[in-house]
């Protein structure tokens, strides 16, 4: 099994015992593949919860008046929507894929610290249940937005010690600790557990990007977690780090918060860039163009990400020199990002393209990402940000990033590796239906936010001036369409997992260590650890990837 670009290595029956017992997914397993799927399924359930909150928000905003839910309920909805989607969906799903794929892709039997891995996962459902429990405390869940800026987050009208905001902060801290555990595990695994011959410049870009993203987690998350704990102390025992009434500085919290939470965007999107880099070469049947520069650009993004956070504070009493310095650093992110976009375009150009569902999603997500990149540049420019900061223009921009790119990219990943993970093929027709509903829904939902923001409609408002109604109706229709688009997906996943056609070990004729093992892979991944002798993405080159034994 040396040459993967030969026509047919499909159709092998699983040689080793695959994972078949569904009960193990509810157990404290230390198998990275089981944990990966646990993460992915948990994240998707939370995605549905966050999606229901989004439907309520769009339902309220379909008319200018506040007439569907009370203002306090509305505030809780957008707070919990943001929290659940970020801490419950994007981070866990990406951790899930990284968990499943990184050991397989680098030729390891498991993660470096399997038990730590399992503990890190189980903290996610705990944090999620805690967060949902806050609906049942007297004052309701947190209502200060997912940024939780003080002093609003320090106001506690019920006077109870146990309130939504306290629970929110605990949940965020738990999720942060879980991610720090994960980051230690990933970085160690990539550095120490690679198969013989798997040099850094033979690693798939997905691994490069997970590695870069987890480095950000290591330096950024302790800062956010510290900020959350300080706010918790202000709220419960009366310290005054951030409370201006007692001499604290609320802007300090914003620095703590964004020092991590902007780089967090790159933590989320880098693995998606990795997914693009895996999918485009396969479905274009060409090597990844500029492999090395694409790999290095990931580390560059991680590096620059440490000095961009103040662009969230342009109008928060930030001196002029700081506004301008962070404008330049923020714009600079577009350089390594641009390198990647050009590399993907060159990979696709002149290829033998096939638009199966994973490719459709990746391709659509790339187009949406280019759009988001353009609006991102306008936002980094101080004078324009002064106008559109905290308006729907920003909301539109980051939803193009977080739904258009990250979520669509994750669906691409799910369809692409579904056969590997489950040993079954999904239904192509339902996959394509899902794509078109999601792609149209994304544009209907998030494009109107740009004109709304330019006109001055603010984010987080529960009612608005009547002149904003037209675009809001379109956005709400798009939002409901996105809700509908998950139905064929759920049907497809459940139906295929139970009744789908048996998947061969390499249905896409892809090159990579994970495609050399059966679908689903055996418990310890490899009967014998492979010796890597070739470059990744050797499409059209008929060079061996691993040594014959």
């Amino acid at each position: 099994m040396t040459n993967i670009s030969v026509e047919d290595i499909t159709g092998d029956a699983p040689q080793q015992e695959p994972i078949t017992d569904w009960k193990q997914y509810f157990s404290f397993s230390t198998d990275h593949k089981v944990i990966g799927i646990q993460y992915i399924v948990t994240a998707f359930i939370l995605f549905l919860v966050g999606g229901i909150f989004a439907m309520i928000i769009r339902g309220e905003l379909i008319t200018p008046e506040s007439d569907l839910v009370d203002r306090s309920v509305y505030n809780a909805m957008f707070t919990m929507h943001g929290t659940v989607m970020l801490f419950g969906w994007t981070f866990p799903i990406l951790t899930g894929f990284a968990n499943y794929l990184v050991p397989l892709m680098i030729g390891a039997r498991d993660m470096a610290f399997p038990r730590l891995n399992a503990v890190a996962f189980w903290m996610i459902p705990i944090a999620a249940i805690l967060l949902m429990a806050s609906f049942f405390v007297p004052g309701g869940p947190a209502q200060a937005g997912w940024w939780s800026y003080p002093p609003v987050s320090l106001q506690n009208p019920t006077g109870n010690l146990i309130n939504g905001e306290v629970i929110w902060l605990l949940a965020v801290a738990i999720s942060g600790v879980s991610s720090i555990m994960g980051a230690i595990n990933f970085v160690t695994t990539v550095v120490k557990m690679r198969a013989p011959g798997m040099t850094f410049f033979r690693m798939p870009i997905f691994v490069w990007n997970v590695f870069s993203a987890q480095i950000i987690q290591l330096f950024g998350l302790p800062v956010l977690t510290a900020g959350a704990v300080m706010l918790l102390l202000d709220l419960t025992v009366g310290t005054s780090f951030f409370d201006p009434a007692k001499g604290g500085d609320p802007v300090l919290f914003q620095h703590f918060f964004w020092f991590y939470s902007h780089p967090a965007v790159y933590v989320i999107i880098l693995p998606v860039f990795g997914v693009f880099s895996e999918i485009f070469p396969v479905f274009a049947r060409k090597p990844l163009f500029g492999y090395k520069i694409v790999a290095i650009s990931s580390l560059l993004i991680a590096g620059v990400s440490g000095i961009v956070w103040v662009h969230h504070l342009y109008v928060s009493g930030t001196p002029g020199w700081m506004r301008l310095f962070f404008m330049l650093t923020t714009m600079f992110v577009s350089v390594p990002t641009g390198i990647k976009v050009f590399a993907w375009t060159a990979t696709i150009w002149g290829g033998k393209l096939r638009f199966d569902t994973p490719m459709l999603f990746a391709f659509g997500a790339l187009i949406l990402f280019v759009f988001a990149g353009i609006t991102g540049i306008t936002l980094s420019s101080v004078p324009i940000d002064v106008h559109v900061n905290n308006t729907y223009y920003v909301v539109g921009h980051f939803h193009y990033v977080l739904y258009g790119t990250v979520t669509m990219g994750m669906f691409a990943a799910i369809y692409f590796w579904f056969p590997k993970m489950t040993g079954r093929m999904y239904y192509e027709g339902l996959g394509k239906l899902h794509f078109w509903l999601a792609f149209i829904g994304t544009n209907l939902n998030f494009f109107p936010m740009h004109p709304l923001g330019l006109q001055g409609m603010l984010r987080r408002v529960s009612s608005y001036a009547p002149e904003y109604e037209f675009w809001n109706i379109i956005a709400s229709i798009g939002g409901f369409l996105l809700g509908v688009s998950t139905l064929p997906f759920i049907l497809n996943m459940i139906g295929s997992w139970i009744h789908g056609e048996q998947a061969p070990k390499n249905p896409w004729r892809a090159i990579g260590l994970e495609w050399l093992v059966s679908s689903p892979p055996p418990v310890e991944n490899f009967e014998e650890i492979p010796v890597v002798v070739g470059e990744p993405y050797g499409y059209g080159k008929s060079e061996p990837l691993v040594a014959e034994h």
Binding site: L68, V69, D70, R71, S72, V73, N75, G140, A144, G145, Y149, P151, V152, P157, T158, G247, A284, R285, P287, F289, G290, I293, V315, S316, G317, P319, G320, W321, R323, L324, M327, L328, M331, S334, V335, G338, T345, A346, W349, G350, K352, L353, I367, V370, F371, I374, T378, S381, P383, I384, V386, H387, N390, Q455, R459, V461, S462, S463, Y464, G540
Partner: protein, 320 residues
């Protein structure tokens, strides 16, 4: 063949440029009316960025969509594409282009920012002297009419016959959950509506009583957070007579959406007349949406939770 390719590429580039320029011009219609000098600068910069952005977006997605249509594999074709792995020249060029673009965009944005001269917090003010627009405390905006500059506390003498003399003052802005109150220190009047003379540099002294608020007038394209315990100075120049909306741009709690106020830009004569008339009015409690919603039973389908009580409704000379 080579020449033909160059011709085709040039034609595409020209077409793309034309379309991008058109979209760039179109951006002006996406914005509210230009009611402040700052808005002209911001709109110019935005138009420039969107022109560039449209060129890049159309170029990249055009290439991708062209591939998607014309580079598809035949149904039973399982062969591979050309194994092209890289091209050093191309890679250097497409790294250099974004680097140059970044410096171009940043420099231009910097120039526009300097010209706007919006002031932020006090500590920054002394470090930073805008070059484009003179500070309100140094000179009035109609610099073309031979103006004698004045110290912040004295009134400004203008030789311009058409514009009448407006005494310089910092208008005080007080933000609280959930109301705006404006105070004119010279006359001591208070109002829930912000009245401003047209074509004069305005300086606001902003304060918050409780949480973070944001001062934002979309038609002026200016925004500034107001932070409790800090004095925030802020400057801009309204240039268009009319009525505009001021909104709170930093989430300030339950009734955030109700925290709006009218901004009335009027001729210097009308402005002075308003000041004089308002000074004669007795203070009374202004209407306040947050306070009245808080007092009423909620009409919504889904009922909420206990909320922070709104601050005392403002008592002012003038309310709308």
């Amino acid at each position: 063949m080579k020449i033909r390719n160059i011709l085709i590429l040039s034609a595409i580039a020209i077409a793309l440029t034309a379309v991008s320029l058109l979209i760039g011009q179109w951006t002006y219609s996406w914005m509210p009316p230009q009611a402040a000098a700052e808005s002209q600068l911001v709109d110019k910069l935005f138009s420039f960025l969107i022109t560039l952005g449209a060129f890049i977006f159309l170029g990249v997605t055009g290439t991708l969509i062209y591939s998607a249509i014309f580079h598809r594999a035949e149904q039973y074709d399982t062969s591979d594409g050309p194994p092209i792995e890289g091209n050093i020249t191309l890679e250097i060029v497409w790294t250099a282009i974004p680097v140059l673009l970044v410096f171009w965009i940043a420099t231009y944005s910097y120039q526009i920012y300097e010209q706007m001269g919006i002031q932020g917090p006090m500590e920054a003010m002394h470090l930073h002297i805008p070059i484009g627009m003179k500070s309100a405390s140094a000179a009035p905006i109609n610099g073309d009419a031979g103006i004698v500059s004045a110290s912040p506390t004295s009134s400004i003498v203008s030789t311009d016959a058409t514009s009448s003399v407006i005494p310089f003052e910092d208008i005080e802005v007080n933000a609280k959950q959930w109301a705006w109150v404006f105070r004119y220190p010279k006359t001591g009047i208070t109002s829930t509506e912000l009245h401003l003379p047209v074509n004069h540099r305005i300086r606001l002294a902003m304060q918050s009583e409780d949480v973070l608020h944001g001062f934002y007038i979309p038609a002026f394209r200016v925004k500034q957070d107001i932070i409790p315990n800090r004095n925030i100075d802020f400057e801009f120049t309204p240039i268009r007579i009319g009525k505009y909306q001021l909104t709170d741009s930093e989430f300030s709690g339950t009734y955030f959406a109700t925290m709006r106020a009218n901004v009335v830009v009027e001729s210097p004569e009308d402005y002075k007349k308003w000041l004089a008339e308002t000074a004669n009015r007795k203070p009374c409690t202004a209407n306040n949406q947050a306070a009245s919603e808080y007092a009423q039973e909620s009409k919504e389908l889904i009922k909420g939770w206990v909320t922070v009580a709104p601050a005392q409704a403002p008592v002012v000379n003038y309310s709308n």
